[in-house]
């Protein structure tokens, strides 16, 4: 069954890149423009995995993850954060918020897909 991914990023370019990479890897993709939009689309999209940017207007990536984890039905939903920061600080913060893993921008398509395949059953 096709897996569905909700990708949340405020950058149009990044959304485009994600959409292209994920679609060509055979995933179904839903896009959201910021954290609030992402949470709005979570229920209707009911994705198998969420990829979210960190720096976003209205609600940042940490907020998105925390909000998602508050909901029982999404406790085990895999969430990847997209970050340009290579420092461990943001990853630690993301993990504390409940992120499953991370993808560093600029992402390599093969690696992105490998990471996703690893955490989506």
């Amino acid at each position: 069954m096709t897996k569905k991914i909700l990708a949340v990023d405020d950058s149009r370019t990044m959304r485009g890149l994600l959409e292209q990479a994920l679609r060509s890897a055979g995933f179904e993709v839903e896009l959201a423009e910021d954290g609030v939009d992402g949470l709005d689309k979570l229920g209707p999209a009911n994705p198998d995995l969420v990829i979210t940017d960190i720096n976003m207007p209205r609600l940042d990536g940490f907020g998105v993850i925390e909000e998602i984890r508050k909901l029982d039905r999404y406790r085990a939903l895999p969430i990847l954060v997209l970050t340009t920061e290579s420092g461990s600080d943001l990853k630690d913060r993301a993990r504390r918020a409940g992120a499953t893993g991370w993808v560093v921008k600029p992402f390599d398509e093969t690696k992105l897909v490998a990471a996703i395949s690893r955490i989506v059953a």
């Binding site: 405020d10 950058s11 149009r12 370019t13 990044m14 485009g16 890149l17 292209q20 720096n55 976003m56 207007p57 984890r69 406790r75 085990a76 939903l77 895999p78 969430i79 340009t84 290579s86 420092g87 461990s88 600080d89 990853k91 630690d92 993990r95 504390r96 409940g98 992120a99 499953t100 893993g101 991370w102 560093v104 921008k105 600029p106 992402f107 390599d108 398509e109 093969t110 690696k111 490998a114 990471a115 395949s117 690893r118 955490i119 989506v120 059953a121």
Partner: protein, 755 residues
């Protein structure tokens, strides 16, 4: 990919706008935290996108800028004038870098270095965080764990996931993340650890693994890890459930199991590959990988709850060396596919003359449609309902077609305005004047060619405004003005034309000085009786060099004559108003399109002429209008708010002598951008039409008073009147400067003897 690249650059434009708006707000101390956040995000997004396309120069520069913005955002740095000014400079350079990246050219790195240094010096330059340390908070989370007794009805699958208490052994190199290596390089695999060298052939690996509750809290799943390991070779898994408490004492959130896995890696699978599987769970599980020589004996009981003791928790010999970044699949990464050529885009380049030809043809179509409609109504055909409907559709469609074709050439003045803003800032810095530039109407669209060719004149104008218009800060304070000067650049549509104005709140034109300079240059004689506006217009004379005389601040030639001739060449006009002590406004009026014009068709002295309706305010019949004689041979028209000179169009263009009596003619009241008005005498008004402009210069030469020509619906050629030129070359009878027209005579009468 190339579509995405285009989209990235479009996004960059938007992001730069956010950044610049933010900077302007910051500059005016009108900046809330969200504005700074938005600026930070803009630069951050530029960096992110640039990274995806392998635009390294852009990544590096935006990164430094982002650091400074981050400091401002966090309050570590107060955005004082120095910071703001540096951010402006950096933002300008960032914009340059984006342009270079877009065009595939190389930026001037020396300039970037200087700005980068400034940025780094200012920002608190965050030292790279030390990897490998658990944050205090995380340790606390790990240590604070207490098993709780829960009375739960466990689902069947949940039981599989229950494992051992991870214990405090979480110190395994949490931060040594996969991606912190600055550059993987080609074949970026790190040296393999001894026992796992590929050349030795695949060795069997023993992996012990137990999960912490954090592993489940973050949506990770041991089953998925095992599945990923299974993809790397032959895998057998054994679970140790000896730590599993009785159901009554079981905490659903705790993992009580320890797994022991035996992996016979497939060809090419290295220790790094295996560790890569644990990338996301590093630090929230305990795992240990040790190599075992290929053994014949069965190392682990097959998947079963065999009573195999848990592997010792102490690190295997190789474990401390796990500190270097794990590079699972690293060889395949790096921005390899990102440097795409700019060859295929979602836009196409078309030669301008093809577009112009299309625009011309559409113009002709519109006229043809109008002719058809006219002759049909003359034949009484429009009374047929169906014909009427069809004609209506044709009219609507040709209108849409015309609009669409026009938009091909139209583009917002935003880009132009940003460039000018930047020049203003740079000029202000050089001249030591504090200023802010306000732009209005950036979305106003203008023909692309016109926009491009406006850059130079506007650059002249804005430098003039900074150098000559704005006073020095101390003088401004003295004059009771804000220390910082304001330059306003605005664009607006006005009756079929686009008006671009540049105004400053400076000291206005120093007319005494201008007059003295003009006299010294021999442009005027001391006896000349000149109005204020006449003196202001001296600035446009070619011989008026303000270089040494007026500007001591900047060594640049000012050349308002160049500005005027450039604007004239675009079919535009430039005019200037100045108020002593209050500032100067230069107004450029440009045709919206260079191709079609709405005109009033008139006849005068047997010729058919077109007067652009954009200049037309009112029409009168001479037998009904209030016409008064003025002096010996002049007439004026009384309008509600004053008197307007009357000019015979035929005489002005040299078709005939001024008629002695005017009783059966018509008057067209025309107005230029500065609000000056003139009434033109014509013999008859035939009607209002759209006409396609045919330039005279290409095939003939420029005729004074004539803007262009056109072909009318009946096939006849008509000349289009240049109303502004007509007005400016007429003696301003209402003023006292009787025989001294504003511009040309100065040049001929005074400039020549001086040579």
């Amino acid at each position: 990919m190339s579509d995405l690249r285009d989209s990235f650059f479009q996004e960059c434009d938007d992001l730069m706008e956010v950044l610049n708006d933010g900077l302007t707000a910051l500059d005016e101390d009108d900046c809330d935290p969200e504005t700074i956040n938005a600026m930070f995000r803009s630069v951050h997004s530029i960096k992110g996108g640039a990274g995806a396309f392998g635009l390294d120069a852009l990544v590096g520069f935006s990164h430094a800028m982002e650091n400074l913005l981050d400091d401002v955002r966090s309050g570590a740095i107060r955005p004082n004038a120095q910071v703001t000014s540096l951010l402006f400079v950096a933002s300008d350079h960032l914009s340059d870098l984006i342009d270079h990246a877009r065009e595939g050219t190389t930026a001037d790195m020396s300039r970037a270095e200087a700005i980068l240094n400034d940025l780094r010096n200012l920002s608190t330059a965050p030292a790279p965080t030390v990897p490998g340390e658990l944050s205090a908070e995380e340790q606390e989370v790990a240590a604070a764990f207490q098993p709780l007794v829960l009375d739960l009805d466990l689902g069947p699958d949940l039981g599989d996931d229950l494992g051992d208490d991870p214990g405090p052994n979480l110190g395994t190199d949490l931060g040594a993340d996969l991606d912190s290596a600055p550059d993987p390089g080609p074949g970026g695999d790190l040296p393999d650890l001894g026992p796992f060298r590929d050349d030795g052939g695949p060795r069997s690996m023993t992996i012990t693994f137990s999960a912490s509750e954090d592993l489940f809290r973050t949506g990770n799943d041991p089953a998925l890890l095992f599945r990923a390991l299974k993809a790397l070779g032959e895998l057998s898994v054994a679970a140790d459930d000896s730590q599993l408490p009785p159901l009554a004492q079981l905490d659903a959130a705790t993992s009580y199991l320890t797994w022991r896995l035996q992996l016979d890696p497939a060809e090419g699978v290295t220790r790094d590959t295996v560790e890569g599987v644990f990338e996301f769970v590093d630090g929230i599980c305990t795992y240990d990988i040790s190599s075992t020589p290929p053994v014949v004996s069965e190392p682990a009981a097959a998947v079963s709850s065999g009573a195999q003791p848990p592997a010792p928790a102490q690190p295997a010999p190789a474990a401390p060396a796990a500190a270097p970044p794990v590079t699972g699949g690293r060889a395949s990464c790096g921005p390899s596919s990102s440097r795409t050529s700019a060859s295929s885009r979602s836009t196409i380049r078309v030669e301008l003359h093809k577009v112009d030809r299309l625009i011309n043809l559409v113009g002709e179509l519109v006229i043809g449609e109008a002719m058809l409609r006219q002759s049909m109504s003359e034949q009484g055909l429009t009374s047929h309902g169906e014909v009427d409907v069809a004609m209506g559709q044709l009219r609507q469609l040709s209108g849409f077609l015309q609009e669409s074709v026009m938009t091909i050439r139209a583009q917002p003045v935003r880009g132009l305005f940003h460039r000018i803003s930047r020049i203003a800032r740079e000029a202000g810095r050089e001249a030591g004047k504090s200023l802010k530039l306000v732009t209005v109407g950036e979305a106003t669209e203008l023909d692309k060619t016109v926009t491009e060719r406006l850059t130079e004149p506007l650059t002249h104008m804005v430098r003039n405004a900074v150098d000559h218009g704005l006073e020095r800060p101390e003088n401004r304070i003295e004059a009771g003005k804000p220390e910082r000067g304001t330059i306003t650049l605005s664009a607006a549509h006005r009756s079929g034309r686009v008006l671009i104005t540049l105004s400053d709140d400076g000291g206005g034109i120093d007319r005494v000085r201008v007059r003295r300079v003009a006299e010294e240059k021999g442009l005027i004689s001391p006896d000349d009786d000149l109005s204020d506006s006449d003196i202001d217009n001296l600035l446009f004379l070619p011989g008026f060099s303000t270089n040494a005389e007026v500007s001591k601040l900047s060594g640049r030639g000012v050349g308002m004559d160049v500005v005027r001739s450039e604007i004239n060449a675009l079919g535009g006009r430039v005019s200037l108003q100045s108020q002593p002590g209050e500032g100067t406004t230069v107004t450029i009026s440009l045709p919206l399109t260079l191709a079609v014009l709405e005109g009033m068709i008139v006849t005068v002295a047997g010729e058919t002429m077109v007067v652009p309706t954009s200049a037309l305010r009112e029409t009168f019949r001479t037998d009904e209008a209030a016409i008064h004689d003025f002096g010996a041979d002049a007439r004026v028209l009384a309008v509600h708010d004053g008197y307007v000179p009357i000019v015979d169009l035929g005489a002005a263009l040299g078709f005939r002598e001024e008629p002695d009596t005017i009783t059966r003619q018509s008057l067209l009241l025309i107005e230029n951008e500065t609000g000056e008005r003139t009434a033109l005498i014509v013999d008859a008004i035939r009607g209002q039409h759209e006409v396609v402009i045919k330039g005279l210069e290409q095939n003939y030469y420029q005729v004074p008073g004539i803007a262009a020509a056109t072909i009318l619906g009946d096939g006849n050629i008509a000349l289009i009147v240049d109303t502004d030129q007509l007005m400016s070359s007429q003696p301003p009878v209402t003023r006292a400067v009787a025989d001294k027209p504003a511009e040309v005579p100065f040049r001929s009468a005074h400039a020549c003897p001086a040579q």
